[in-house]
Amino acid sequence: MIKVMIAKPGLDGHDRGAKVVARTLRDAGMEVIYTGIRQTPEQIVQSAIDEDVDILGISILSGAHMKLVPKILELLREKKASVPVFVGGIIPDEDVDKLKEMGVIEVYGPGTSTSEISEQVKSFVEHSDT
């Protein structure tokens, strides 16, 4: 059973994408924990650890990704949690590579097909499992 957390950091309320992705992954047979909007990096990281999720998905449309994502990755490292992170939302091309360099496994922009997301999450977790 794959356990995923979908988290929405930042001060904005753009939650449609996060909810669409959460439902998509549920329909693909995963257990999906949704945190709700306006989560601090601290809340997200502690929740991911307490729920012992296999993978953490972060949705950001506000433009604050270059602040929020590094903070989340740093806290995960600090707490010795090796949870892979993927990101979705409005992320300019030039930032996609930077985020990946920091360790984000994949970045998904607007219009990404939901089946592509669930297939990639599945294959990623299955391959990192062993």
Binding site: R26, A28, Y34, G36, E42, Q46, S47, E51, K80
Partner: protein
């Protein structure tokens, strides 16, 4: 093998040192391999927590109420277990109760964990007993279990919890109707939530009327989970009840009942596992033959796992 032993040692040490990260792993073990979890937990000292079941139809405000209860227990070590339904078709689940409790995500004394109901028809997680035991071994004072709130889970919670809180709200007009399905029997306390809604007065008088016909007097608490109004009274009542049942024998009785149901669920799980492996193609197998075969397999399985 030695790898498994190191792993077990690490989990035991971590639980003793109250490491949150380790508790999270042990809870995962409860879900993925409850048999192993039971053996592990058996090696740990256990304290007794007040296990509170929170049940009632979806949308009544159970998760919000649990959050409000957490607000009122700043100095206690509290675990919140939230169970949401798994899809019988895909096995997937959307676990959204946590959203209402996120203000406590980083509280040092509070641990929130979401469970999917998985195969369990009752709607409680099949690992619910193991999960409660894990929290008790971790030294929690309270374990609050929020049920899915439909079907059998409403009644099954009585086999898990020391105290069952049945939540009602004026949104769900047919609530009193539902009482007939056994809620009156399992409730140790009633909460009428969303008391800010004027219609809750009608619900309150109906509930009182329904109770007047029954044999036992069950206390009713009125809450607004969003503002926290009335919640301190509920928490006070929970604390007092735990003292009472600890001394009057009720807690002992509930725990005995719980142990029986835990054993039943463990055996059922083992049986399900064996049934999957057993050869049903055998010529002429009948009821008695199958029964014997399963009993034999169960005993053999048991002696093997003890080695």
């Amino acid at each position: 093998m030695s790898n498994i032993q190191t792993h077990e040692y690490e989990l035991l040490k971590g639980m003793e040192k109250r490491e949150r990260r380790i508790l999270a792993k042990v809870l995962s073990l409860c879900e993925s391999d409850p048999g192993k979890a039971n053996i592990l937990l058996g090696k740990l000292p256990k304290s007794t927590a007040h296990i509170v079941g929170m049940t009632g139809s979806p949308g009544i405000g159970k998760s919000t109420l649990v959050n409000a209860i957490l607000n009122e227990m700043p100095e206690r070590r509290v675990a919140a277990i939230a169970v949401d339904p798994s899809s019988p078709f895909t096995g997937g689940a959307l676990l959204g109760d946590r959203v209402r409790m996120q203000s406590h995500a980083t509280s040092e004394n509070i641990f929130i964990r979401s469970f999917a109901s998985r195969g369990s028809l009752g709607g409680l997680s099949p690992s619910i007993y193991e999960a409660c035991n894990a929290f008790e071994s971790f030294g929690m004072n309270y374990v609050i279990v929020e049920t899915v709130g439909v079907g059998q889970s409403e009644v099954d919670i009585v086999n898990v919890a020391d105290t069952v809180v049945v939540a009602l709200s004026p949104d769900n007009g047919d609530e009193i109707q539902m009482m007939k399905a056994g809620l009156m029997e399992i409730a140790d306390m009633f909460v009428i939530n969303k008391f800010d809604n004027p219609k809750s007065q009608i619900l309150l008088s109906r509930l009182r009327a329904a109770m007047a016909m029954g044999r036992k007097e069950i206390p009713i608490y009125l809450t607004n989970a969003l503002t926290g109004e009335g919640v301190s009274d509920l928490v006070k009542a929970l604390n007092e009840r735990f003292l009472t049942i600890s001394s009057n024998g009720v807690l002992k009785k509930r725990r005995k009942n719980r142990l029986i149901h835990h054993a039943q669920s463990t055996l059922k799980r083992e049986l399900d596992f064996l049934i999957e492996k057993i050869d049903l193609e055998e010529e002429g197998i009948d009821l008695d033959g199958l029964r014997r075969k399963l009993i034999h397999a169960l005993c053999w399985n048991h002696s093997e796992s003890r080695k």
